[in-house]
Symmetry: C2
Subunit: 293 residues, 2 copies
Amino acid sequence: MLDALRHDAALVEAELDRLLPLPAPGPRRRLQEAVRYAVLGGGKRLRPFLLLQTARLFGVPPARALRAAAAIEMLHCYSLVHDDLPAMDDSSLRRGKPTVHRAFDEATAILVGDALLTHAFAVLADPQTHPDAELRCQLVAGLAGAGGIGGMIGGQAIDLADERKELDLEGIQELQSFKTGALIVEACRAGARLGEASQEEIEAVEEFGSALGLAFQIVDDLLDAEGDPTAVGKPVGQDAAADKATFVGRLGTEAARERAAALIEAAKEALATFGGRAALLQRTADFVLTRQV
Amino acid sequence: MLDALRHDAALVEAELDRLLPLPAPGPRRRLQEAVRYAVLGGGKRLRPFLLLQTARLFGVPPARALRAAAAIEMLHCYSLVHDDLPAMDDSSLRRGKPTVHRAFDEATAILVGDALLTHAFAVLADPQTHPDAELRCQLVAGLAGAGGIGGMIGGQAIDLADERKELDLEGIQELQSFKTGALIVEACRAGARLGEASQEEIEAVEEFGSALGLAFQIVDDLLDAEGDPTAVGKPVGQDAAADKATFVGRLGTEAARERAAALIEAAKEALATFGGRAALLQRTADFVLTRQV
């Protein structure tokens, strides 16, 4: 993995640990233990990394973007916990560990997701996140938009629908732009906002995020089709088993890989206007293409 | 029911309808239909009413508090949908209709709750809710606090815990202050904030909300023990069937009713400082005590 990704993941881990302290012994403590189980000690932390690095692109040091980065990771983790539930994808393994409803129980997993979703907004609205309240409201609205029916939740609804199996390439692309793309774009947008970027600059990082998000998902499909379950940290071959239409299924392995490579080129191109300052984000794009996890 | 409660409920219904429009046909439309099923056409709308009426106490007309009122009702409705799930309370009836997971399916019910929770924050963060961003951030933080592990979700965790059956009176009171009290207090606090109330005034309405919320829950226990399921809109006798410790179980019917009456007196007393302006909120407190629904 990229050294920078690993470095920022450690910062995000520490911030999440700080933002999710354990209450006094009792049922609420057990719930928070499950919250911490769901969030700490795993994951690439790609979304917070993108937020931190787009913020840095506009001169904001990681320390001043960490709370927003942790909030977006909380939202991402909530979605994993709920998506893994028996009524949804019914997954038993996540990030190499039993899923929350397996390690605890189903009611706890529902509450863990609810708590993470709720806390993400508490963190963003707090003055410690940024002194400008207008900007904090934009972060709240942005995360809610990316996480709502017009984003991630809408994508999950499409993913679970009967029509899912018959999606054509365009339909799969739309599904993924909702389900994973919206939050990746928001990570980039939030970083740019923290850096008080211009509208033009925000649009450039949105374009980067959009192409990167789609490439990320195509690589996910490739890993599911061909990857090593130990490295990936979750079972593979699930899409084929569920007879789901995927980029790989529709395009074939080779064309899917080519499509992902072209998207990564487009993502990097979107950052050309920032010159050498964007080098790390461009290397991140390369990593997304070649990742094995 | 109070005429004023009915009147404001209609305003809130119209606002919720407006804030939850249907998208184009497809899986996302079906999900939003389920969201609307969960939210529209039922409920006392007590929390938004309290928000609207505390705002009015400080001179804010309902039209300028309706978005915040709708947001708090969205949060309340999400909690009902998730609490009703098979892994939680496994309820089949709510507000006289099949619960969301019965009318649709379990995955949809999970997503409906997630979507309502998410959208509540989107609504609050939007400049249309109030021109002052600092105030909007306070509303977001307030709702997240009241809805989180330090409030409603924490209460639900206690409610589901093994220790639940053995709670003493103090334990039941703590459970309810988390599970229902926090959000009722927040409704009052948010109204006062919209009215730019002083810290002293905010504390007075918080005291009102806190006593009212506890009385509300005791009456809920009484209705569960003695109420008419057709009027209540959900099955009764569930606490006894689940062997749950309740105010009625610990105190007996008569002492529970006395306790509720004393709390309602305390709630009304907390508003004495506002004189005749608080008459409607005081009648609301009386309604909470005598309600049959």
